[in-house]
Amino acid sequence: MAVLLLADVYHGKLATDTVAKVLAAVKSLGEVHVLVAGQGGDAAAAEASTLDGVSKVLFAADQAYCYGLAETTAALIVSLAGSYSHIAAAATAFSKNVLPRVAALLDVMVISDVTAVVDADTFMRPIYAGNAIQTVKSVDSKKVFTVRTASYSAVCATGSASVETVSAAVDSSLSKWIEDKVAGPNRPELTAAAIVVSGGRGVGSQADFALIERLADKLGAAVGASRAAVDMGYAPNDWQVGQTGKIVAPTLYVAVGISGAIQHLAGMKDSKIIVAINKDEDAPIFQVADYGLVADLFNAVPEMVEKL
């Protein structure tokens, strides 16, 4: 039994922490080979070879695999799949684009967002935005799955595996990359941020949402919003945290003027520390908050910005 681990590589740089956490998840399954795909990924391949538990790095240095295009990357993985019992990757936008395609080409089911590898066939994963945890046993010959890295601690980098070049004939005519735009340099991306500050209906207007943004910037945090705030037009839709928005699990989540509707809780309840600031002391958000402050946000937030 051996595992093929598809590494997240962005613009030639290995997402080392992400890959190191997936390694922690899959190391019990057998020998692990890491696949680094994309032109200019030499350094990424070299870095992957130092991670503990990697016995070989496969490096596919072809332009066709740049930018994580699904069609070519999936075809490459399928060409290598023969000798592996498991094909795994982190549950990132990159892998979620590629691995279901791989699974269908191999005629197996994909298992997304795995939070625990129970044994070679059995996996735990959240469903209903984390409101239930399901344990599933796969009957497929190969297991193709993505791992939620938040559940694991990264392995160390004291290894020295060999790097082997691989290639495959793939059709690169289906999709063409045009551009990548990274989120504003000053604010972290919502799903990757260590701290998230979110505003809800209680903020009251689009203009007053600047208060939330000020607190977020003071903390170096991403800005989120409840669906109610988005529906009222206070905040753009891409800030939405919740079942129909982004699912986040930062170290610190600050919910300001958010009552704590089920749909919002589903998107943030796996955060390490939750702070709630709300003037309604009976708001359901206080039932999940580690620290609750019953206060008018229009006083508390400026005071917090000043004192931080």
Binding site: Q134, S138, L293, A295
Partner: protein, 253 residues
């Protein structure tokens, strides 16, 4: 250009999910069901393409229980032209896996020959985020997932995708599968006259056997359990106390 939109009947996003006491799954009896929110966005986008004169026909398809008819009628009331229901189970607690759904949809695509399939990026029940990608693989079509903007012109679709850390723009050749994310649009509410009109729009009922697809699951559900609960913490009396707790006790700032 014909556009096909698969829609799924799921538990309404505002309903509190309850895990069955015997661990066999989530309780779906007598709870409010709605169209998967991401599928609603896909339907809206297809209708907008028709309104712009790019799409000529919008066909919606649902796979599951007979009651999914209601979901299809909702899509018809929004403005879709025609619906197909593939009755794959009689049990509301049976979730047809994305691989089987993709195989059935591939069968529908072969009959209907759409140029574009617009799917929701994931269903909010099983959260698998797989059907669109799998369908694309089975058909050998181009694939653009997590779309927040799309523009169809000259046999291609230019898609802006929501990826980790920002946005990626790609151009895919038609025919293509595009899965849609939240920012793409805000779905309309169906008006009463359109709801009435939807009742007379065509809705064909099929079975998996019609497409020669084996829908047996590949993943056996061993157990479904409640997530580890969170306990309410403490109330603090002031902003200063809050900051002190976050610094000294939690160590998160």
């Amino acid at each position: 250009m014909k556009v096909l939109v698969p829609v799924k009947r799921v538990i309404d996003y505002n309903v509190k999910v309850r895990v069955r006491a015997d661990g066999s799954g989530v309780d779906l009896a007598n709870v409010k069901m709605s169209m998967n929110p991401f599928d609603e966005i896909a339907v809206e986008e297809a209708i907008r393409l028709k309104e712009k004169g790019i799409a000529t026909e919008v066909v919606v398809v649902s796979i599951g229980v007979k009651q999914a008819q209601e979901t299809l009628r909702t899509a018809l009331a929004m403005g879709a032209d025609r619906a197909i229901l593939i009755e794959a189970t009689a049990d509301v607690h049976t979730d047809i896996e994305p691989l089987a759904v993709a195989k059935l949809l591939a069968g529908v695509v072969k009959q209907e020959s759409p140029s574009l399939v617009l799917c929701g990026k994931q269903a909010i029940d099983n959260d698998m985020n797989a059907t669109g990608q799998m369908l694309s693989a089975l058909l050998g079509w181009s694939q653009a997932t997590f779309a927040s903007e799309l523009e169809v012109s000259r046999g291609r679709v230019r898609v802006t995708r929501e990826v980790d850390g920002g946005l990626q723009t790609i151009s895919v050749k038609l025919p293509a599968i595009v899965t849609v994310d939240l920012r793409l649009n805000e779905p309309r509410y169906a008006s009463l006259p359109n709801i009435m009109k939807a009742k007379t729009k065509p809705l064909a009922t099929m079975t998996p056997a019609d497409y020669g697809v084996d829908i047996a699951p590949r993943l056996a559900v061993v157990r479904t359990q409640e997530p580890a609960g969170r306990k309410a913490g403490v109330k603090v009396g002031s902003v200063s106390e809050l900051i002190a707790k976050l610094k000294d006790e939690a160590g998160v700032i």
